[in-house]
């Protein structure tokens, strides 16, 4: 059974629609990346899931509960740049967060200590948050989101603002956390998503461009590809255009002297193209046969 069901979720601000009727399911125990360029509607979607924004229309159902039911107790949320009270110590804040989620004083204290150790802030737990670095704040954000043992963890761009070392630390933590709880995180970096996720929801302009498990998307989109570049001769460009209508070409993109063909039989395509090129004396500059990756899919969807 799915943990979270989202149906036709929409958020509009006046005439501007920032999330456009998106639907998806999140299975229990999965790690899902909400992938997309800046302005794709990732943060808006996460805020609606976290109950911080009222959806304009659509439904969110948690563990099959009636839509609109209170489910925040089972939710952990870390915003893009979590803000804390600088006058509190890290430990005080996590205890405060645990109590707000309904824990008793004793349970809150022990659970807070546990999650602070977990994110590696044990030694700094008694320091004022005002003196924390960006990476420490991000880890404190994770600690406060984990302290009440949520069933769903929502993270908004958890590593985007961090330096490589901080990024490494947080990614390692996420790798551990995803073993225990369901994680949804947004990112604009495909690499982060590929590193730890099972599923990908690719968003652009407020819509879901593609979704599915990482392995499924990989096999679906790893079509054989042939890239060609010729000199800027009229005949050569005409020849590239003529290739697009060959039977083995599934899809083609032409950029003047440069062409990318998705083919279904790379062997046959290579033979035919090279033979023709030799016959017609086409001034080839570059010929490359390979597989397209998620990166290409991402770029295609994002439209760069």
């Amino acid at each position: 059974m799915s943990l979270l069901q989202v149906t036709n979720l929409r958020k509009s601000y006046g005439a501007h629609i920032s999330v456009h009727d998106i639907s998806f399911d999140i299975e229990k125990g999965r790690c899902v990346a909400l992938l997309g360029p800046n302005g794709a509607g990732k943060t808006t979607t996460l805020r609606m899931l976290a109950g911080l924004l009222e959806p304009t229309s659509g439904m969110i159902s948690f563990e099959g509960s009636r839509p609109g039911a209170e489910y925040r107790r089972g939710l952990g949320y870390v915003p893009q740049s979590p803000a804390f009270y600088g006058w509190m110590t890290g430990q005080e804040y996590v205890v405060f967060a645990a109590k707000l989620s309904g824990m008793g004083a004793k349970e809150a204290t022990s659970s807070a200590l546990e999650s602070l150790i977990r994110v590696g802030l044990k030694d700094d737990a008694r320091r004022k948050i005002g003196g924390y670095s960006g990476g420490m704040k991000q880890r404190l954000g994770l600690a406060q989101a984990l302290v009440h043992r949520p069933r769903l963890l929502l993270l908004d761009e958890p590593v985007s603002a961090l330096d490589p070392i901080g990024r490494r630390e947080v990614m390692e933590l996420l790798r551990e956390i995803r073993e225990e709880t369901t994680v949804v995180f947004s990112t604009h970096v495909l690499h982060d998503a590929e590193e730890i996720c099972d599923d990908i929801i690719l968003m652009n302009h407020g819509r879901i461009a593609e979704q599915g498990s990482l392995s499924q998307l990989r096999s679906q989109y790893s079509l054989p590809v042939i890239r060609l570049r010729t000199e800027k001769h009229k005949e050569a460009i005409q020849w590239l255009e003529s290739l697009a209508s060959k039977p083995f070409v599934l899809d083609s993109e032409l950029f003047g002297d440069h062409a990318v063909f998705n083919v279904h039989d790379v062997e046959k395509a290579r033979q035919t193209i090279l033979q023709e090129a030799a016959q017609l004396e086409i001034p080839l500059l570059q010929f490359e046969a390979g597989s397209s990756t998620l990166e290409d899919l991402f770029m295609k969807v994002v439209g760069v």
Binding site: R73, P82, A83, Y85, A105
Partner: protein
């Protein structure tokens, strides 16, 4: 543990750590004891300032202790009010703009609990500040001028406190959707408008919360008698402010 209580304790801790719980009462104590001191030492002060026409001070009579007490409370209407408003303008707006509110609202906490916790914390501060200030004023009045009717003094302070609470509540409401300085300005302007209206058109404005300062003085000096209007309107104003602040906190969109 109730979330309102958890939030209230956090507010009080913040007030203690930022020394608000100390400096605001200190300001109130200073304001309070200034009145009996200046009244008692007025002849000395005037003499020290030089050319006093002969005979001016002969007619000087120290007013009755109750009157001095009423005047001392009146001191809180300007600087005291300003201090309270400036001290509370950040309560909701600060958390909204810094983003700390976001992390509270994702937890199972209602906006009403947040607003009530903040309001109660401001009320605590007000009670401590006004209580200590009025006690200081009463002590010096008692020592220098004459016996203070303690029961009346406490009642009058309470009534004056209700007027100040209206200001704090209005600040809270405005700070739920405006930037802190704007919230402070609007709250002060609203209260100044009511006070001005009361002094220009007493019959039109005597039912507003601004009438409370006159009623407070009336308890001590047997001037104005009891009128229910100001109490009712003050209660309604405070409730409207709290409900409004809670609704606005719920609807509020976060800055990116």
């Amino acid at each position: 543990m109730s979330s309102t209580w958890v939030l209230y304790r956090k507010e009080m801790l913040e007030m203690a750590r930022s020394y608000k719980l100390i400096w605001i009462p200190v300001v109130f104590i200073i304001l309070g004891i200034m009145q009996p001191l200046t009244i008692y030492y007025l002849p000395e002060i005037l003499k020290a300032s030089g050319d006093v026409p002969p005979g001016l001070l002969e007619g000087y009579e120290i007013p009755h202790a109750a009157v001095v007490m009423a005047q001392a409370l009146g001191q809180y209407g300007t600087i005291g009010m300003l201090v309270l408003v400036l001290g509370s303008m950040n309560t909701l707006a600060g958390e909204r703009y810094s983003g700390t509110m976001e992390l509270i609202l994702v937890r199972p906490v209602s906006p009403a609990a947040i607003v009530i916790a903040k309001w109660t914390a401001q009320l605590t501060l007000l009670v401590v500040a006004l209580g200590l200030g009025a006690a200081g004023a009463a002590y010096y009045t008692e020592q220098l001028i004459g016996s203070v009717p303690w029961g009346d003094a406490i009642a009058a302070s309470g009534v004056y406190g209700l007027w100040l609470l209206c200001v704090v509540s209005a600040t809270l409401l405005f700070s739920a959707f405006l930037r802190p300085p704007v919230a402070a300005f609007l709250a002060l302007a609203l209260m100044a408008g009511l006070s001005l209206g009361l002094s220009l058109l007493p019959t039109w404005f005597d039912w507003t919360p601004a009438g409370l300062s006159g009623l407070s003085a009336g308890i001590l000096t047997a001037g104005e008698g009891f009128r229910a209007g100001p109490y009712l309107s003050a209660s309604v104003l405070i409730i409207i402010c709290l409900v409004g602040a809670a609704l606005l906190t719920r609807k509020n969109n976060f800055p990116d």
